[in-house]
């Protein structure tokens, strides 16, 4: 995974088209699989960096990532192609599904399908959390910060903007103040 591959514009569009098409219940696990493992456009480290930026910046995370990755390879055109590729197929599909859903929402096979897809999709996301967590330094402070974020959002149901407003500067400040160790 050390050799960096730079995609041409067509490959960029196609790559994000596939990511969009195959991301049931959230696109992130598929994005990691395609961008890092299958295509080698990004290293694990770069993916984690861009993911963190996509999370902290306002707006849909994966669209932010597509903009960042597309623009890195091909400037404005790359950003547009990546976002268009990402959203095109899902947009068409979801409008079709919405139309169908109005007619078939009570059929049992559809509900059974969703009942099986949902836990699998959540499991994939959990797998990604595990991959990211394994990369955290084995020190007390980073893990404390991760747990704090988790509890604030999932346990106390604080609004996200508030959590980020407090914890993001705190994390960055600590990492800035103590470059060695700490975070």
């Amino acid at each position: 995974m050390n050799t960096q591959i730079i995609p041409d514009k067509k490959a960029l569009f196609r790559g994000f088209f596939l990511i969009g098409l195959s991301g049931f219940g959230g696109v992130l696990p598929q994005a990691q699989h395609q961008l890092v493992q299958r295509r080698g456009w990004l290293t694990d480290t770069e993916f984690a960096e861009l993911l963190a930026l996509g999370q902290i910046l306002p707006g849909p995370n994966i669209v932010n990532m597509a903009v960042a990755i597309g623009s890195r390879f091909h400037g404005v055109a790359g950003a547009l192609l990546a976002v268009a590729g990402l959203l095109l197929a899902p947009l068409v599909l979801i409008l079709l599904l919405a139309t169908l859903y109005q007619h078939y929402q009570h059929t049992s096979w559809l509900q059974q399908l969703l009942a099986g897809l949902a836990p699998a999709g959540i499991g994939l996301l959990l797998g990604m959390v595990l991959k990211l967590a394994a990369r955290l330094p084995r020190r007390r402070l980073p893990w404390l910060l991760a747990v704090l974020t988790f509890v604030a959002v999932a346990g106390m149901h604080l609004p996200l903007w508030l959590v980020l407003l407090v914890l993001a500067p705190l994390g960055i400040g600590l990492a800035w103040r103590y470059p060695q160790g700490g975070l």
Binding site: V27, P60, V153, A175, L183
Partner: protein, 171 residues
Amino acid sequence: MLLFLFLMFVQFSLLAVGGANAIVPELHRLVVTELHWMSGQEFAALFALAQAAPGPNVLVVSLIGWKVAGVPGAIVSLAGICLPSSLLSFWVARWWQRSRGSPLTIAINKGLAPLTVGLIAAGVAMMAASHPPSWAAGLLLASCALLSWRTRLNPLWLLAAGAAAGLGGLV
């Protein structure tokens, strides 16, 4: 109407801190309670659909646009929600690329990494909590997590297994 939709979602764009799901409560209030575009039940159904369908969850926005103004409404809404945040991302990404390896970007990296873990883990916990708990679903969730963590299997295979388990009535 199209212009109204566009401007409405442009405003929402920079409010979606941490992802599209962050604006859902506010969206619900506006669309259901204030504008009376749809009932709460319809809203919940559209939201579930956007979660279950392939693609990013931000597509719930396009469904609201579609409900109100058809396909043009869907496109305009999606463009509105993506535009301001994408412009911001574009500039930040350029700056990031230029100053990679500087003490500031290193601090940002290290400082944000724990937050990313906590945030996505919280999303997992909240989504899992919104489903009725069952041994079968828990087992499916855990095995998908383990396999995607430890192997390089394409996630689609695991989703297919989940779908099959659902159709087979196992979950």
